[in-house]
């Protein structure tokens, strides 16, 4: 080593001169990161799988509104008398509405209209927005988990991570570009899917002949529904980060997809079981243990997201019940989960040796 001629680094290694056909871009941290996000989105766009997932999401959304509209068709096809209260006889319990005379045509029409209005309300605004958001959050969740597992785990299992790690960007930039691309996919997906749902509902609602009353449309309604939209995106992002973390740890698509889906399923099942156990303990021995067990599901991702959404519904319509989980608690819970998922994945990504 001592025999190496010592030349000052800046003199020995001036900035490289490349051929003029090589057009280098902005080399700032953000410039590189944005270019990498663009590259990730380009790769996603060129995948057949992404196109299939997009079509599946749109079909699910249209299909769900289609299923709801079947109820309206059923109401329209059924005889009006089906929707009348039962005739008053001695068998009818006290307090139950009943018909003590032969119905007039007006009463028959009114009964059908009421039934139709009730059954078709998820097709129309404002309720169709909630229907679309709910559908987007469930269908989108499965699809974003698949997408995340593929773009993160796939890099490791195929080996392209080796290629990208030797091109110049830091591992953190590469990692952040995945998160950025996923965020863009989630935002774009929800922004496209929800209007598709609302539009589908509006079209199917035409068959009911019921017009939309826009009196609900206020600044507060708009604000809270924008927040609900963001909450749906946050929910998808949470599970995407879970899939990202598991894919990174498992270095495989399957690890992220299966792991995140199992987690999601377990939250539902385990939540119910814990509440049951807590209740049964509480009935025989009320105390802190029962309360503790019953409170565990409050710290699940799905329940925290659900609470945020439910609280927004409560702000829009105070008649609806607010969640037992406060917004603050839900947000803190989700932030902790995010910090763990992203932190672990980042740390592993930074420290791991890239071998075969």
């Amino acid at each position: 080593m001592s025999s190496i001629p010592q030349i000052p680094a800046e003199q020995a290694f001036p900035a490289p001169r490349r051929q003029e056909t090589v057009v280098m871009g902005n080399q700032s941290y953000l410039g590189v990161l944005l270019r990498l996000i663009g590259t990730e989105l380009y790769k996603i766009r060129r995948r057949l799988m992404s196109k299939v997932l997009s079509i599946v999401a749109i079909v699910i959304m249209i299909g769900f509104f289609g299923i709801i509209s079947i109820g309206s068709i059923f109401v329209l096809a059924s005889p009006e008398a089906t929707f009348l209260p039962p005739p008053c006889t001695s068998n009818i319990p006290v307090g139950t509405p009943c018909l003590d005379h032969s119905p007039t045509q007006a009463e028959l029409d009114q009964a059908r209209e009421r039934a139709l209005d009730s059954i078709s309300s998820p097709l129309r605004l404002p309720n169709s927005l909630g229907t679309a958001l709910q559908t987007a959050s469930v269908a989108g969740l499965i699809l974003i988990i698949i997408l995340t597992g593929t773009i993160v785990g796939g890099e490791c299992s195929v080996g392209t991570v080796r290629l990208m790690f030797t091109r110049g960007p830091t591992r953190t930039q590469f990692f952040l570009s995945k998160i950025g691309a996923l965020l863009a996919c989630i935002a774009l997906g929800v922004i496209i899917l929800v209007p598709v749902g609302i539009l589908t509902g509006a079209l199917l609602n035409l068959f009911t002949g019921i017009s939309v009353d826009f009196s609900f449309f206020t600044a507060a309604w708009l604000l809270h529904n924008m927040l609900k939209l963001l909450i749906v995106m946050l929910g998808l992002f949470m599970y995407a980060m879970l899939a990202l973390c598991l894919s990174t740890l498992g270095r495989a698509t399957a690890a992220g997809v299966a792991g995140a889906l199992v987690w999601w399923g377990l939250e539902t099942v385990l939540g119910g079981i814990l509440v049951l156990i807590g209740s049964s303990i509480g009935s025989s021995n009320p105390g802190s243990l029962a309360n503790f067990i019953k409170a565990i599901p409050d710290y699940f991702i799905s329940n925290s997201i659900g609470a945020l959404s439910q609280n927004q519904d409560h702000y829009i319509n105070p008649a609806s019940q607010a969640s037992s989980i406060s917004d603050l608690q839900a947000i803190i819970t989700l932030v902790v989960y995010l910090a763990v998922f992203i932190g672990v994945a980042w740390w592993v990504n930074q420290k791991r040796d890239v071998t075969n």
Binding site: M1, I4, P5, I7, A9, A12, F13, P16, R18, Q19, T21, V22, V23, M24, G25, Q27, V32, R35, L36, G38, T39, Y42, K43, R46, R47, L48, V158, G159, T160, R162, L163, M164, F165, T166, R167, G168, P169, T170, K351, D353, V354, T355, N356
Partner: protein, 371 residues
């Protein structure tokens, strides 16, 4: 090697200092001290499992060394890796690309990932590198449909994309047909003439000898030898003497050994090998320009050689000598593939001087090597 004109300027491009990597108890690379100068076409040799790819991965920051450090372009790769990588084009093992993208799209993705402007702004450069590796006609074909050779060539195209100063090629001729191998050899020479530094890891010793001006030989993670190819090969030059009868050959060997004992230090070793006809041939490890002296020495004792001619050292011979010390031919995995051709049977005749032992004093012996 004559047509290589390395633009060597004494600047060290790669320098490793006690670079070590252990995977648990397995030491894959041990105290590696490598020096690659600007303009070098540096051959990195070693059998399978010798630590070549591990070293390349450490240089590229894919894996972290257990100890020691690697300096590239005067920068430590532990804290200035991005700046280093922007000056390198590399293939590590079999190149892998996105299977659902075409060759062209893969290069666009890599261009953007390498700090080049994204989109179609670099399509001219991409077309250039595709032309270099003769893949232009297949640029729209999905990568998953590429043959192994095409994949390898796309890897080389990707390595050249940013017009890097250092091109790091790990087994670049894997999967290529003979024409492809020759093309890669020409490409390496062309890149070298453009002032690029090439770090070439290869199993094909003939290829390395054809293109490299410096080599390093690794075995079980230890650097056995490093230096200028011409100097290293000079150290393994031999003079081959054929006498008419075996008794004459034995006597000639005795005379050469006597001369060595009396101070002819240019004679490193001497032994008898059997040729294909079963005839004994006297092999003298000595510079080929001493052939006339050897002839005169024998003639003084009325021994007249039927044939005397120099045997130029090949990298293959050198490699086998260096890596096989203490091991039978093919004694560890990968040896057969590396050797390419079987070694002729060796009949050591100088007591206490194993055939390979003299190599230790040649060109640039590595202290503490072969531990």
């Amino acid at each position: 090697m004559d047509d290589i004109s390395p633009q060597y300027d004494g600047t060290t491009i790669i320098s490793t200092s006690r670079l070590t990597k252990a995977f648990g108890k397995l030491v894959a690379v041990n105290d590696l001290e490598l020096q690659v100068m600007r303009g070098d076409v540096f051959g990195f040799l070693g059998p399978n499992g010798s630590g070549k790819t591990t070293t390349i991965r450490m240089l590229l920051g894919l894996i972290r060394p257990t100890a020691g450090r690697a300096i590239l372009f005067g920068m430590d790769n532990t804290d200035q890796l991005p700046a280093i990588l922007r000056r390198i084009g590399a293939i590590v093992e079999t190149p892998v690309f996105y299977p659902y993208l075409s060759g062209l799209d893969n290069l666009r993705v890599i261009a953007a990932g390498s700090g080049m402007v994204s989109g179609k702004s670099n399509d001219r450069r991409i077309a250039e590198v595709l032309d270099i590796v003769e893949l232009r006609a297949y640029e729209k074909l999905a990568y998953r449909k590429y043959s192994l050779g095409m994949k390898q060539r796309l890897g080389i195209a990707a390595a050249l994309l940013t017009d890097p100063e250092l091109v790091l090629l790990d087994e670049p001729t894997n999967g290529l047909d003979p024409a492809g191998v020759i093309e890669i050899r020409r490409l390496i020479k062309r890149l070298s003439s453009l002032g690029k530094t090439i770090f070439l890891s290869s199993h094909i010793l003939y290829e390395v000898q054809q293109v490299c001006n410096r080599v390093a030989i690794l075995k079980k993670g230890n650097l056995l030898k490093q230096g200028n190819v011409a100097e290293l090969l000079a150290s393994s030059q031999q003079v081959e003497v054929r006498m008419n009868r075996d008794e004459e050959t034995n006597y000639a060997l005795h005379l050469i050994q006597q001369a060595q004992e009396r101070g002819a230090d240019w004679i490193a070793n001497a032994h008898i090998e059997q040729n294909k006809q079963g005839q004994g041939i006297l092999i003298i490890d000595a510079p080929i320009d001493r052939s006339a002296e050897i002839n005169a020495l024998l003639a003084r004792q009325n021994l007249f050689a039927a044939e005397i001619h120099p045997r130029a050292g090949s990298l293959e011979d050198l490699y086998l000598e260096v890596t096989m010390q203490g091991a039978a031919p093919g004694g560890y995995p990968g040896m057969e593939a590396l050797a390419g051709s079987p070694t002729p049977p060796v009949v050591p005749t100088v007591p206490g001087a194993a055939h390979g032992a003299q190599i230790a004093n040649s060109a640039s012996e590595i202290p503490g090597s072969g531990k």
